[in-house]
């Protein structure tokens, strides 16, 4: 994309770069610094911050697919939560036959197991996402009201189907042996699994940014967000792009679901819908359709929840709502409003 614009043109004025909106990006470090004196002890602060970032990464994993689908297709999928649950349940397909790997005292074997779970989850949710898009979503393109209703209906049916397949009672899934427990450095406590979550979250975020900003597909997706008709007029099959983004979004939800399930260590069909509340708050804060905003929003919400939970536990219950209200008062469209809408 950069090559196209700069190289061949005779009057080699480089295209003006889009201005980066720094203010929202500064919010996260500013918040962390602000919390430092309030928390008091430095080691507690580090513990809270790392835990919060890990939480934020998991929320981001679950929310990124939804915001991408909305940005590109103007489709709001209230059934997104069921892909989170489904991904989590799909990891049972791997955990069943490979139970020995989970017991093994080898980090690599444990991580490989986690990876296999993630792959299984992404595979299953990707396939179900394809069907979901075809059967549930496609007939209601263009009408938000019907989208909300129909995807809600899809959610009910899919949740019940999970009950029918895997049973209605919660299923415990223990963490692989070496991922349990925490590293303790001085007074700082860092749970191992949370560090893994931070790693995977960062990997996905960087991967998505590279894909969106450095590849041809990403260019098409971003162009499609701005103006789908024009992309279609230039000869690209926008429909195929739409469907693949929907499938990718569902698969990301599955990935997030696995991470979330290991964090909670229990599986319930309603777990996706429970976390959807956070997901919606995050994508509203970020600006519907913005992946970067979704990332900042996730960090913001998770960090605030952690700090407030430590400083004033009673307030923590509504801290998410307060953050959202404050952000919306500041920027009614969210932190990074997507231009067209």
């Amino acid at each position: 994309m950069t090559g196209m614009a700069v190289e061949p043109s005779a009057s080699s004025e480089p295209l003006p770069r889009a201005k980066t909106d720094w203010l929202p990006l500064l919010l996260v470090p500013a918040l962390a610094l602000l919390a430092l004196p309030l928390v008091g002890s430095g080691s507690t602060w580090v513990t809270l911050t790392v835990a919060g970032l890990a939480m934020g990464m998991m929320i981001f994993l679950m929310a990124s697919g939804l915001t991408l689908v909305f940005g590109l297709m103007d489709i709001i999928n209230f059934g997104h939560g069921v892909f989170i649950s489904l991904g989590a349940y799909a990891s049972l397909l791997v955990l069943g036959p490979l139970a020995a790997w989970a017991q093994a005292e080898s980090v690599w074997l444990n991580l490989a197991l986690l990876l296999l779970c993630i792959l299984a989850a992404m595979g299953v949710t990707g396939i179900v996402g394809t069907v979901f898009e075809r059967v549930i979503v496609r007939p209601v393109y263009g009408s938000h009201l019907k989208q909300i209703l129909v995807t809600m209906g899809g959610l009910i049916v899919a949740e019940q189907a999970i009950h029918a397949i895997w049973g209605a009672s919660p299923i415990p899934i223990p963490l692989p042996a070496t991922l349990r427990g925490a590293f303790i450095i001085g007074d700082v406590v860092m749970e191992r699994y949370r560090l893994v979550a931070v790693g995977i979250g960062l990997l996905v975020f960087v991967g998505m940014q590279l894909l969106l900003n450095r590849t041809r597909i990403g260019l098409l997706i971003r162009a499609g967000v701005e103006n789908p008709e024009m992309v279609e007029a230039l000869g690209y099959r926008i429909r195929r792009l739409f469907v693949s983004v929907f499938v990718a979004g569902s698969a990301l939800a599955g990935l997030g679901g696995v991470m979330w399930a290991f964090y909670r260590q229990t599986l319930t069909a309603g777990m996706g819908m429970e976390v959807m509340v956070l997901v919606f708050i995050v994508i509203i804060i970020g600006g519907l359709g913005s992946v970067g905003g979704c990332f900042v929003g996730s960090m913001l919400v998770a960090l605030v929840a952690n700090y407030v939970g430590f400083i004033e536990p009673k307030l923590a219950l509504i801290s998410n709502i307060l953050v959202m209200a404050l952000v919306l008062i500041w920027r009614p469209q969210g932190l990074f409003p997507v231009a067209r809408r």
């Binding site: 709001i76 209230f78 549930i136 007939p139 209601v140 938000h144 009201l145 019907k146 909300i148 209703l149 129909v150 809600m152 209906g153 899809g154 009910i156 049916v157 019940q160 189907a161 009950h163 029918a164 209605a168 819908m273 959807m276 509340v277 919606f280 708050i281 994508i283 509203i284 519907l288 009673k314 219950l317 509504i318 998410n320 709502i321 959202m324 209200a325 919306l328 008062i329 009614p332 469209q333 809408r341």
Partner: protein
């Protein structure tokens, strides 16, 4: 869904019945013989339930239907008439319930506390509805759905955590005013074999308040205000261009609907003599409401009557049917688990999706089409 004219003040030609009935129904008649018959049957059935059936189970079912008719009708005002999806309806339902429960528990079992509780609940609901509306409806209607979901779930958590006020997960049980207690006898002798006790009075209180609220809602949707709401639903941009402040109207609609839901919650608490997170605040009730509105018929108040009736009956009796079917098919591999009585929501969910696609007017829309 009936397409309504964009001009809110235009008089609809077919609605000129001058009788008292037309006045009561705000000139919005059922417009279908079958529908009229069903509605009459429901009305008479609910009015005569204490005399038709014995035992407390049918009476409780009837009371639940009355409450849900109000709840679903008020939700339809938002979904069917204004075209916005709220997930906070159970929050207002819960506020009504908790208003009554807290007031009666703290201030003693008098009518005065009922009034205080109701008024306080109505005020809180109105304030919350205005705040949510102004925060979310300014930008896009779709924000509203997500924000209501977030706020409602936060309130549900709050209600279960603030156990000193709300009783937490256990909820609150309380005494009713003397006249509504089962031991109270209005008449010394039974009438038609039924003793006129406090339970019966409570049922009729519920029935008439529900009926009145329903007629009031019918009045509202057929007023010029209701016409503006429908205009916004059909074409937001055009309504705004005609000079109607869309944000203000949508917020007003959400306030009216919240108030009616609060009344429904108060009735529910009065009937159960108890209020807790599971009876009024839970998300599954929200899903039930959605199912009732869509299956009954969006954009018609009568749809909510049919939807509520059908759903509550299904809830009580469909499961019995399914368990019979499930045991009958015990040998077949997958089928029994699909029609297991706990899976009844699966089938209602499928019905829901199909109705949104195939007949967005729901049952009422179908019946009206058939007569045209």
């Amino acid at each position: 869904m009936t397409r309504s004219p964009v001009f809110p003040l235009a008089v609809d030609g077919g609605r000129t019945g001058g009788s008292i009935l037309a006045g009561l129904l705000s000139s919005d008649l059922p417009r279908s013989k079958v529908l009229t018959a069903i509605l009459l049957a429901i009305l008479l059935g609910l009015a005569a339930t204490p005399f038709l059936f014995s035992g407390s189970q049918p009476l409780s079912t009837a009371a639940k239907i009355c409450v849900f008719i109000v709840l679903v009708a008020s939700y339809d005002l938002l979904l069917g008439y204004t075209g916005i999806v709220s997930f906070a309806h159970t929050m207002f339902f819960g506020i009504g319930g908790y208003g009554i429960a807290i007031a009666l528990e703290r201030l003693g079992a008098t009518w005065f506390s009922v009034a205080i509780g109701l008024v306080a609940a109505l005020l809180l609901s109105a304030l919350l509805a205005i705040a949510i509306g102004l925060l979310s409806l300014r930008v896009r209607a779709i924000f509203f759905s997500m924000i209501t979901l977030a706020v409602a779930s936060a309130m549900a958590v709050l209600a279960s955590q603030l156990s000193t006020i709300t009783g937490g997960e256990d909820g609150l049980s309380f005494q009713l005013p003397v006249e509504l207690r089962p031991a109270f006898r209005l008449l010394p002798e039974p009438v038609l074999g039924v003793s006129i006790n406090g339970r019966l009075i409570a049922y009729y209180l519920l029935f008439f308040v529900a009926l009145l609220t329903f007629l009031l809602l019918l009045r509202i949707v057929n007023s010029p205000f209701g016409r503006v709401l429908q205009a916004i639903r059909e074409n937001e941009f055009r309504a705004e261009a005609l000079g109607y402040r869309v944000v203000a109207y949508r917020t007003m609609a959400s306030v009216v609907s919240a108030l009616a839901a609060t009344v429904a919650g108060a009735l529910m608490a009065l009937w159960l003599r108890y209020n807790g997170p599971d009876t009024t605040l839970s998300f599954s009730i929200m899903i039930d409401i959605l199912l009732m509105v869509v299956i009954g018929g969006m954009g018609t108040m009568y749809g909510s009557v049919i939807g509520a009736m059908l759903f509550v009956l299904a809830q009580s009796y469909l499961q019995v049917l399914m368990s019979a079917g499930s045991t009958a098919l015990a040998g077949v591999p997958v089928l029994p688990s699909l029609i297991h009585p706990d899976r009844w929501l699966l089938w209602l969910g499928a019905l829901f999706v199909i109705s949104v696609y195939a007949f967005p007017g729901g049952i009422v829309g179908r019946l009206r089409q058939a007569t045209q």
